[in-house]
Amino acid sequence: MLVLEDLAYAHPVRWGSYSFTMSAAAGEVTAVSGPSGSGKSTLLDLIAGFLDPTGGRLTLDGRDLLPLPPETRPVSILFQSESLFEHLTAAHNIALGLPPGTSRAEVAHKVATALEEVGLPGVGNQRADTLSGGQKQRVALARTLLRNRPVLLLDEPFSALDDDSRAATRTLVRSLTEAHHWITVLVSHHQDDIAALAARRYQIAAGRLLLA
């Protein structure tokens, strides 16, 4: 269980202070909605470690995550766009999720398996900039599989996708979350994404999270 207890942050430039309290369980998607500028991305940055909170607690199954820098937090993050390095192939992007020193054969095997699982067998040798928006997000999810981190943060991941890709990627996120017991936190201002995925919903209002 991922738990935020009065996790506080005061934005140094923009007006606004936040205090987040929420919990998210393994094997399900927890969704956070709110209008633009309400603090959704700030919430993810605090969980991922890109921002230092000014107070409160953040724990994963009772373990304090706050001392950990972003590199070592048990968290994967999928951005709205630019989750891949466009100059690298899909396989190379996925392989970045494996620790250095992994043997070439093992990399090839794991990358192929991950691509298979996200429904993209055979695209490994394509450069990322030749893939569609939906394919890019699937490749990023394949890399998440290899990183094997228990928490997946999704920052408006479907916003740039067309309707068909959107539906397919949503289904994939849900099935991967259930199959791998990920704690998936989705922030979005699209109600249909939230309705399709969320087992638990929060709404941000005035810098606080309200259980919807």
Partner: protein, 538 residues
């Protein structure tokens, strides 16, 4: 609450890169301090030569006047050329743009020689004039006119390439709006072009002024006597011809002071512009007189820039080449030039990467500025002064300048190219750090993996450009080798000057043609090679 170090930064922590950047800063600062100390110590120790006092005021005035005129004329020519190239579409346009881009690496001594080949007493124009009218045409190629012409050819072309990048970067939506309003040519320039280029002009003016202020080979070849001497040439004359070390030191101090003032002023104008803007396609041609004027400007520009270079190739690869190839000194000088240029390019790349990666790894404004400063060393302490300081230092240590010459020339040439190298590599590495820092950090990529998988494939071509720039700068440098060169140790530019001094004009022409060919080859091939290697790696 326990906090992770720097966890609030989107940039991955890279202590080694910061240490590397600070280390290079310290090394360059130490070298500059050594140079200044050597010059100051020599100033107090050397007895004044028993000859007429040096007229520092005249030298400073002459240097400033020629640099000021060069700046104004180059900006006018550059703006006109950029305007014409931005509007016109024709077969070979890319070649013309490449030609102007290559101005930054074309050795000054080669351009000066090319001007002589066209406009000199035995040049093409005079020969044609004499054939037509039976009397020689007296073009004042030696003196201020010749110096300005050579500088404007080089710096005007450089300015044109930089300003073209700004004009080609005007957003398409803005162009469409202007086109739908049917703006006439002059109004289009005022409303769309001028706002795009005016921010670049002060920085560009500063860099051109500095390049002209510290120009050495052009003034040496085309100065035509003491009346047109500049500080750099006066330092060289004092050391190598008059053996007046006291006078040289005095001039060096004046030169450093003057350059520092200009560098500080330039820093206030913003960054030094790079010539590496993308050439974007745009289809909105002007009509009527404007179009006619654009063709005229382009024709004059290409004629003015390409004719001297063409003359060098035609004259140089003519009768004199065979005799030159028989001279053992040519082969020794060519080998020395290639080795020094290669080592200097490698050192420049190393220094530029270390400084740029160190700067990109930091989000502290003070540290970023501190790591960025050494790249301007050459501009404040120009080549001849740097060489003089090192010359005095090795002499102070009791080392023969002959023995130290190769290492000193490599280091001084590398510093010479560093401002351009950092201006080329710095911005893309900064952009990667800012745009991809969060992703890199969230994937926990190590520093080496970040470099090999992300940075190198993306900046490989820029790295090739840095190598090409540094290689060409070193290949064409005369300022450093002029002080350190000996009978046994000379590079191609020094051999060319010596050939001219010995009235072996055919040899000088052939050397100029070889240098120009090597420069063009390096400038075209090296970035492509690096781009291909980096692409293959990705």
């Amino acid at each position: 609450m326990k906090r992770s170090r720097r966890s609030n930064s989107p940039l991955p922590p890279r202590p080694l890169r910061l240490v590397g950047g600070v280390g290079v800063v310290a090394a360059i600062a130490g070298l500059v301090a050594l140079v200044l100390w050597s010059i100051a110590a020599a100033a107090s120790a050397e007895p004044a030569a028993a000859r007429a006092p040096i007229d520092v005021r005249h030298l400073l005035a002459m240097t400033s006047i020629q640099a000021g005129l060069t700046t104004v004329l180059s900006l006018l020519v550059g703006t006109a050329l950029a305007w014409a190239l931005n509007r016109l579409r024709f077969p070979g346009r890319e070649l013309a743009v490449g030609l102007f881009a290559s101005a930054i690496v074309t050795p000054g001594i080669v351009v000066a020689f090319g001007l002589l080949a066209v406009w000199g007493r035995s040049g093409w124009v005079n020969a044609a004039w004499q054939a037509l009218f039976g009397a020689p045409l007296d073009v004042p190629i030696f003196g201020l006119g010749g110096i300005l012409a050579a500088h404007v050819i080089l710096d005007g072309a450089f300015a044109a390439r930089v300003l073209l990048g700004r004009l080609d970067g005007i957003p398409v939506a803005r162009l469409k709006t202007g086109q739908s309003l049917a703006l006439p040519a002059w109004r289009r320039f005022a409303v769309l072009d001028w706002p795009a280029i005016r921010g670049t002009l002060p920085g560009l003016a500063a860099i051109i002024f500095l390049l002209a202020f510290t120009s050495f080979p052009i003034v040496l070849l085309l100065g035509g006597g003491p009346a047109n001497q500049t500080l750099e040439v006066a330092i060289y004359t004092a050391v190598r011809l008059d053996f007046d070390l006291h006078g040289a030191v005095l001039l060096a101090l004046v030169q450093i002071g003057a350059c520092s003032v200009v560098v500080l002023a330039a820093a206030a104008f913003g960054h030094v512009p790079s010539s590496l803007g993308p050439v974007r396609q745009q289809r909105w041609a002007d009509r009527g007189w404007a179009r006619l004027a654009q063709w005229l400007v382009l024709g004059l520009g290409v004629f003015g820039f390409a004719l001297p270079l063409g003359a060098i190739l035609v004259d140089g690869f003519g009768a004199g080449l065979g005799a030159l190839l028989q001279r053992p000194t040519f082969w020794r000088s060519a080998a020395a030039s290639l080795v020094i240029a290669s080592l200097s390019a490698a050192l420049t790349l190393l220094l530029a990467f270390t400084l740029s990666l160190g700067r990109a790894a930091s989000d502290s404004p003070a540290l970023r500025t501190g790591i960025g400063v050494p790249s301007y060393t050459y501009l404040a302490v120009p080549a001849v002064v740097l060489a003089l300081g090192l010359f005095l230092f090795v002499r102070h240590l009791g080392i023969s300048p002959d023995a130290a010459a190769p290492a000193v020339v490599v280091i001084a040439n590398a510093l010479l190219a560093l401002p351009f190298a950092v201006a080329t590599l710095g911005p893309p590495l900064d952009a990667i750090a800012l745009g991809r820092g969060r992703l890199i950090r969230s994937l926990a990529l190590g520093g080496w993996r970040q470099f090999t998988d992300v940075e190198w494939p993306l900046v490989g071509r820029e790295a090739g450009l840095v190598v090409a720039l540094a290689f060409c700068f070193s290949l064409g440098d005369l300022g450093v080798i002029a002080l350190f060169g000996t009978q046994d140790f000379a590079t191609l530019p020094l051999l060319m000057v010596r050939s001219l001094g010995a009235y072996r004009t055919n040899d000088a022409a052939a050397i100029a043609a070889i240098m120009l060919t090597l420069t063009i080859l390096a400038f075209v091939a090296i970035p492509r090679l690096f781009g291909a290697v980096a692409h293959a790696r990705a």
